[in-house]
C-alpha cells in the first residue's frame, strides 16, 4: 500500500484542488463509505429490529454487523457494550443523564476539554473540577491526584487527544490513578481514535465516545462504549420505539443496553457507513497511518521553525493530528480568510475550547489538522499561502 496515493480513494479530492487541513473538524470520506451507504439505500433499505420481512432482516443484520465492527475496533469484550449515538457529543450527554446525574456529585475534567465535555456536566448541575495544565499544556498529574483525593468517588471525564493542540493525555495512567480513588472514567476519543488504536480493555475505560465523521465516516453517527459491569447502573434516557420489551401506560420494561439507548429509528445508513470507514482504516492499519502522520507533523514542525513571530503553546512532544499557533501582531481570523482565498482550508477561532483559550489569555488560534490523505505537498502549499498572508497582514 502506498500511503501517498490514498488521496485517490477520496472523491472529494477529485472534485476540487483544495488543500484540506481541517480533518479534526470533519474528515473527508472515502468512496467505499459512500458506496456502502448507497448500497443500503438502493438494495435493502428497511427499518431494523422490528420486522419479520427479509429486507428488514438484512438491514438489521448489517446494522448489527456494524456494531460488531465498532466493537472490534475498540477491542470491547462484547458487541452489546457498543451503543450507536448521533456523535461524541450525544454520547457524553447520554452518560451525563443516564449515569452520572444520579450517582455522582463531582466531575473532574482536564484543562483541554472540548465544550462537549464541559457543558453536559453543567446542564446536570455537577460541581466541575478542572485539572491544571503545565506551561507546555501537559496535564499536571499531581494536581489531578490532589483533586481525586479531595473528591473521591467522583466522575472523571477526559479527552484523550486535544482537538486544538494535538496533545495526547497519558490516559491509561490517568485511569489507573482515578481507580485508586474510586472514580469512574469517560474517555473522549473523538480526536485520538483516528490517529491510533484504542483498546478499551487495556485502558480499562468505563465509557468512551467516538464520532464517525472524524473517522472518515458519515455525519450523524457515533458510538458510545459502556463497560458491561456498569450496564445495570445506567437508566433509561430517551424513550421510544425499538428500545423496549413491554410497554403499558403504567410502565415500560426496557431492553438491555445497547438497545435501551437506541430508541426511535436509528441512522441505519450511518452505522453501515461508519463500519465501512473503520474497515477502511483497519485495512490500511494504524502502523502505516501513524508513520505517515508523524512524518507530516515533523515536516510541519520543522517548517514552522522558520516562520517569523510564531507563537506556539506546547512543545512538539506527543503531538497527534492537530497543531495550533498564532503569529504575533496578526489576528487568526485574518489568516483564516486569506488562507481560504488561496484554497487552503484550515480552521481559526476558539475550536470549541473557550475555557482553555481563556486560560491562555487568547481568543483563538490557527489550527492545522491532518488526515491520512494529506501529503507534504499540501504542507508546502499551506506554508506558501501562509507566508503570503503574513506578508499582506504584517505592518
Amino acid at each position: 500500500m502506498n500511503i501517498n496515493t490514498l488521496k485517490n480513494d477520496f472523491p472529494f479530492f477529485k472534485n476540487n484542488k483544495l488543500v484540506y487541513l481541517d480533518s479534526g473538524a470533519t474528515a473527508q470520506k472515502p468512496q467505499i463509505v459512500l458506496d456502502s451507504m448507497n448500497e443500503f439505500h438502493k438494495s435493502y433499505c428497511a427499518n431494523i429490529h422490528r420486522s419479520a420481512h427479509g429486507l428488514g432482516n438484512k438491514a438489521t443484520q448489517e446494522y448489527e454487523n456494524a456494531r460488531q465492527t465498532v466493537s472490534k475496533f475498540l477491542n470491547a469484550k462484547t458487541k452489546d457494550e457498543i451503543v450507536f449515538t448521533s456523535g461524541a457529543t450525544q454520547g457524553i450527554n447520554l452518560v451525563a443523564y443516564a449515569y452520572v446525574k444520579e450517582h455522582f456529585k463531582h466531575v473532574i475534567i482536564s484543562g483541554l476539554e472540548h465544550h462537549s465535555n464541559i457543558i453536559p456536566w453543567q446542564i446536570i448541575d455537577k460541581s466541575l473540577h478542572v485539572i491544571d495544565f503545565k506551561k507546555d499544556l501537559h496535564v499536571d498529574l499531581e494536581h489531578f491526584e490532589s483533586l481525586l483525593k479531595s473528591y473521591p468517588n467522583s466522575f472523571v471525564s477526559l479527552v484523550e487527544t486535544s482537538n486544538t493542540f494535538g496533545i495526547t493525555h497519558p490516559i491509561k495512567e490517568m485511569i489507573q490513578l482515578a481507580r485508586k480513588y474510586g472514580s469512574k472514567v469517560l474517555v473522549d476519543a473523538a480526536q485520538s481514535s483516528v490517529h491510533s488504536a484504542i483498546d478499551v480493555q487495556d485502558l480499562d475505560a468505563d465509557f468512551l465516545v467516538l464520532s464517525a465523521h472524524k473517522l472518515y465516516g458519515p455525519t450523524g453517527i457515533g458510538a458510545l462504549y459502556i463497560k458491561k459491569d456498569l450496564h445495570e447502573k445506567c437508566k433509561a434516557f430517551q424513550g421510544g420505539g425499538g428500545a423496549i420489551k413491554e410497554v403499558t401506560y403504567e410502565k415500560t420494561v426496557y431492553m438491555p443496553i445497547p438497545y435501551m439507548y437506541e430508541a426511535g429509528t436509528q441512522h441505519i445508513a450511518g452505522a453501515i457507513g461508519f463500519a465501512s470507514a473503520l474497515e477502511y482504516i483497519r485495512n490500511i492499519g494504524f502502523n502505516l497511518i501513524q508513520k505517515h502522520e508523524q512524518e507530516l507533523i515533523a515536516y510541519t514542525n520543522e517548517k514552522l521553525l522558520h516562520v517569523k513571530n510564531l507563537i506556539r503553546y506546547t512543545d512538539t512532544k506527543n503531538a497527534t493530528g492537530n497543531i495550533s499557533f498564532n503569529i504575533k501582531g496578526i489576528h487568526h481570523y485574518d489568516l483564516g480568510v486569506l488562507l481560504d482565498k488561496q484554497g487552503v482550508q484550515i480552521r481559526v477561532g476558539h475550536h470549541c475550547v473557550q475555557p482553555t483559550m481563556k486560560s491562555l489569555g487568547i481568543k483563538g488560534t490557527v489550527r492545522i489538522s491532518f488526515g491520512l490523505y494529506n501529503t507534504k505537498e499540501d504542507i508546502d502549499k499551506f506554508f506558501y499561502a501562509l507566508e503570503r498572508s503574513i506578508k499582506m497582514l504584517e505592518d
Binding site: 489576528h331 481570523y333 485574518d334 499582506m392 497582514l393 505592518d395
Partner: protein, 134 residues
C-alpha cells in the same frame, strides 16, 4: 453617500484578483484611525459580530461622523468603508438612504456568510444611531 459608494466600487473593481481586493481592504484597515482605548468598551461594542468591533459616533454641526475599530484588520477595513460612506451626513439623510444601494460594492464576495451577520449588525448600529439623533 452614493458618491462614496461609487468611489469604493471603482477601487474594488480595479482588482481582478480577489487577493488584491483583500490587499486593498487590509490597507484601508491598517490606515484606519485608531480608537481611544477608553472607547473600546462594552457599550460601544457591536453585538452579533464574531470578532470584536467597536463603533463610536459623534456629531459636528448637523452631521454625523463614525469611527470604528476591530481587532481583525480585514473587518477593520470593511468597517472603515462603511464609516466613510455614512460619515459626514445628517441623520435624516442616513435614515432615508436605502441600504440596498451597498449591494453594488459586491461585498458578498469578500464577507463570508458566517460574518455577514456582523456586517449587518454594524449597519444596524449606524441606522439606529441616526434614528436616535433625528
Amino acid at each position: 453617500m452614493n458618491e462614496t459608494i461609487n468611489k469604493y466600487k471603482e477601487d474594488l473593481e480595479f482588482f481582478d484578483d480577489v487577493m488584491d481586493k483583500y490587499e486593498y481592504i487590509i490597507d484601508l484597515g491598517k490606515k484606519s484611525p485608531l480608537l481611544d482605548e477608553k472607547d473600546k468598551n462594552e457599550t460601544n461594542k457591536i453585538k452579533g459580530c464574531q470578532s470584536s468591533v467597536w463603533f463610536v459616533a459623534h456629531k459636528e454641526k448637523d452631521k454625523l461622523f463614525f469611527d470604528t475599530y476591530s481587532d481583525t484588520v480585514i473587518v477593520r477595513g470593511l468597517a472603515f468603508i462603511l464609516a466613510q460612506i455614512y460619515s459626514n451626513h445628517s441623520p435624516k439623510e442616513i435614515q432615508s438612504f436605502n441600504r440596498e444601494e451597498l449591494k453594488i460594492l459586491n461585498l458578498d464576495e469578500i464577507i463570508s456568510p458566517v460574518r455577514l451577520n456582523g456586517f449587518t449588525s454594524m449597519l444596524n448600529a449606524i441606522y439606529a444611531h441616526a434614528k436616535k439623533e433625528i
